[in-house]
């Protein structure tokens, strides 16, 4: 069965990059969101198998979006996409229920490794 992914990032560039990496590896990017609020709405609407989540975004941060999504679906599988210097935010996201993280700039293989591990569980 196809695995559906929701990509959340306020930068079009990052969304495009993640989409390319994921699609090249056989995942279906079912939707994109550019802020936390949109992410929560799209999550409910599309019911994706997992989410990649940026942290700093307008209108609702990635952390709050994680909290919202987890409160809707405790089993949600969320991969944080973090930049350097956001360590404490990532820890907060992990505590809130995110499953793992990758650090920008990332390599394709690393993203896929993280995604596969999350889905395996």
């Amino acid at each position: 069965m196809d695995t559906k992914v929701l990509v959340v990032d306020d930068a079009l560039f990052m969304r495009r990059m993640l989409r390319d990496i994921l699609e090249k590896n056989g995942y279906i990017v079912c939707g994109e969101a550019s802020n936390g609020k949109e992410a929560v709405d799209k999550y409910q609407e599309l019911n994706p198998d997992f989410v990649t989540m940026d942290i700093i975004m307008p209108d609702m941060s990635g952390i709050d979006a994680v909290k919202e999504i987890i409160s809707i679906d405790a089993g949600a599988k969320i991969l944080m996409v973090s930049a350097m210097g956001q360590q404490s935010l990532v820890v907060e996201a992990i505590q809130a229920g995110a499953k793992d993280y990758v650090v920008k700039p990332f390599q394709a293989a690393r993203v896929i490794e993280a995604v596969e591990r999350i889905l395996r569980k």
């Binding site: 360590q87 990532v90 820890v91 992990i94 505590q95 499953k99 993280y101």
Partner: protein, 628 residues
């Protein structure tokens, strides 16, 4: 990849590492366990290097050697001569393999050594298995790689995932430090889980950035300790041998550099002041001499402070081992216990610290087993179902008091009364008049356990008598207080330091003797006419109490009889056994520095040491506990 240009680098680094490995093994044989980590690191590094270079044989052997050593690190193997031999064999073999890579051609096969390692670990682990029940308890060591900036985050992920699957008992470092990234690259967890270790390992190894996972069944250290203690309690002699052996071991101490600097400064000052003396001999200037003497005595007292300071260690070193013990034991006993520690920061002489672990452990065991009641019973009694055990340390003047308090059932004084009468020690009338405080001290004597049941956990009243002996040996005192049905408090009173004590100097046959003040209750004048003899034992009645009489000059082998009408007596001992020791005269009370007796005196148990007094005379220190 072409590894050719790495060869030289490998050659240089690996040859240094190989040298270090050999040296470390020798150091280990000599008992320097501090080299264990270094040795492990070196072998580990070598393994990594040989693997990258593709030297298969060396890699395999290094790997096996690392495994062997890991068994020692995790305490499943002891460092025995056999073990050292095998390690040396491995190290030699690694060297030969290394030389072969760079020119020499010596045919060797490593299979035999690899097999020897396997057999060795198998053989020993089979024997250790029996004594290690460790149910579902594991220690997990995880090596974390990845971006160093994000190692805190990685640890947070691991911690969270782990905590969703197992019960984390302990983590090193603690969670907060871990998520801040305050660790090298290894985190350790003590966990309890039903999961199979292989499963756990698989799951952890799959995580991102996890480089290595070690899982070890945790030893129930509590139980092995228990065994040795029981043994000690039963055979006092072996206990003594044991402690003596311990003292003769080489002991290394870590000292802060700043303290050494301080010492250096003081010594420098001494040297400068010394030159002032030679100046005096030239000028004969009296005021200068006085100045210099004063200065020197000031320097010496700061030297004394500095040195004794260095000998002090916080009790925490010992106390920190108990929470875990209490936790595990209370589980085993099905009791709920709140364990509180206070005053762990109090410092005590290094020489005492290793000796107090056993007595405290004994007392804690007694408290848990015989003191604290079962939760049901406690509830019936209107007590909090969770018992309270408090381990407190405080310092008063030159003593340290370590209290172990429990709010359990206390000691039944009436039972002790009955036992004293049954054992025919005193008649009913006398026992009736005895004070509680004196009666309670009888449990320090062997055979006075008031426990109803003998449990596997603490055996027959894990000899309070044995504890008492150990504490006395450390120069301390054991004080027991209790309120039946309510609480028990056992206090270990210890001198702050062993080497400088307060003593009374007495003379006998024109020789000087020192009696430690903590053995002395009072001095009394004994009227010769009042001395009576019963069963060849001289006694004297003082304030309606009977005291056996000891004459020091008889003890040291003189035949002369005292002709004086009034004799100088010293009441020595504790509340249970008090004697009066007759001496010729009291000289002074002073602080003395205790020196050990030379081996020649090994069989003489009258004296515990010797001291040189300010006058230059020597005084033997009487071992009062052996006199009574």
């Amino acid at each position: 990849m072409d590894m050719g240009h790495y060869e030289e680098l490998f050659y240089q680094e690996a040859s240094t590492i190989l040298e270090h490995i050999a040296l470390d093994i020798i150091a280990l044989e000599k008992g320097d366990n501090s080299k264990l980590e270094e040795l492990f690191r070196n072998i580990h590094t070598l393994k990594g290097m040989t693997a990258s270079m593709g030297y298969k044989d060396m890699e395999l052997l290094a790997h096996k050697t690392e495994d062997l050593l890991e068994n020692v690190r995790s305490n499943t193997l002891l460092i025995t001569p056999d073990f050292i031999d095998l390690m040396l064999q491995c190290s030699d073999m690694l060297k030969v393999l290394f030389d072969n890579i760079f020119g020499k051609k010596k045919t060797i096969k490593i299979d035999k050594t690899v097999k020897a390692i396997k057999n060795f670990t198998f053989k020993t682990s089979k024997t250790t298995k029996k004594s290690i029940p460790g149910e579902n308890l594991y220690t997990i060591k995880i090596k974390i790689g990845g971006s160093p900036d994000f190692k805190g985050v990685r640890a947070a992920v691991i911690y969270k995932e782990l905590s969703e699957r197992v019960k984390i008992i302990l983590s090193i470092p603690a969670y907060d430090e871990m998520v801040n990234g305050d660790y090298e690259n290894i985190v350790i967890f003590d966990v309890e889980t039903e999961l199979k270790p292989e499963k756990l390992k698989k799951f952890l190894s799959d995580m991102l950035d996890v480089e290595n996972v070690f899982i070890k069944t945790r030893k129930a250290d509590v139980k092995s300790n228990e065994k040795t203690i029981e043994k000690k309690g039963r055979e006092d002699k072996s206990y003594r041998n044991h402690t003596e052996e311990k003292q003769s071991e080489l002991i290394y101490v870590r000292v802060k550099m700043s303290k050494l600097d301080e010492l250096q400064n003081i010594v420098a000052e001494l040297i400068i002041t010394k030159s002032a003396f030679s100046e005096y001999f030239k000028t004969k200037d009296q005021t200068m001499l006085e100045d210099t003497t004063q200065k020197i005595s000031r320097i010496i007292s700061s030297l004394q402070d500095e040195v004794s300071n260095m000998r002090m260690v916080p009790l925490e070193e010992v106390f920190s081992r108990f929470p875990r013990f209490v936790r595990d034991s209370s589980k085993e006993l099905n009791k709920k216990i709140n364990f509180v520690i206070e005053g762990a920061q109090i410092e005590i002489d290094r020489a005492l610290i290793s000796g107090i672990y056993d007595p405290i452990l004994h007392i804690l065991k007694n408290s848990m087993d015989h003191g604290i009641e079962s939760p049901e019973r406690r509830e019936k009694l209107g007590k909090n179902p969770a018992g309270l055990i408090k381990l407190t340390a405080r310092r008063e003047k030159n003593n340290v008091f370590i209290e172990i308090f429990d709010d359990g059932k206390g000691i039944d004084i009436e039972k002790i009364r009955t036992m004293i009468i049954e054992k025919g020690i005193f008649s009913k009338e006398i026992v009736g008049q005895m004070k509680e405080k004196d009666l309670i001290n009888y449990i320090k004597k062997g055979g006075f356990s008031t426990a109803d049941s003998i449990t596997r956990f603490s055996g027959r009243g894990v000899g309070v008598d044995a504890v008492d002996k150990i504490v006395k040996k450390l120069g301390g005192k054991l004080i027991i207080e209790s309120k039946f049905e309510h609480w028990t408090k056992v206090t270990i009173q210890l001198p702050l330091t062993l080497s400088i004590i307060k003593a009374m100097i007495v003379t006998c046959e024109e020789r000087l003797f020192a009696i430690p003040l903590n053995n002395i209750q009072e001095t009394v004048d004994v009227i010769a006419n009042n001395i009576e003899t019963i069963h060849n034992q001289e006694i004297v009645v003082l304030r309606e109490e009977v005291y056996p009489l000891l004459r020091l000059h008889n003890i040291i082998g003189s035949e002369i009889k005292d002709k004086n009408d009034i004799l100088q007596g010293i009441v020595i001992g504790d509340n249970i056994s008090k004697d009066i020791l007759i001496v010729n005269s009291y000289e002074s009370q002073t602080e003395i520095v205790v020196k050990n007796l030379p081996p020649l005196f090994d069989n003489v148990n009258l004296f515990s040491g010797i001291s040189i007094l300010g006058t230059g005379n020597m005084a033997l220190i009487l071992d009062i506990n052996n006199l009574i």
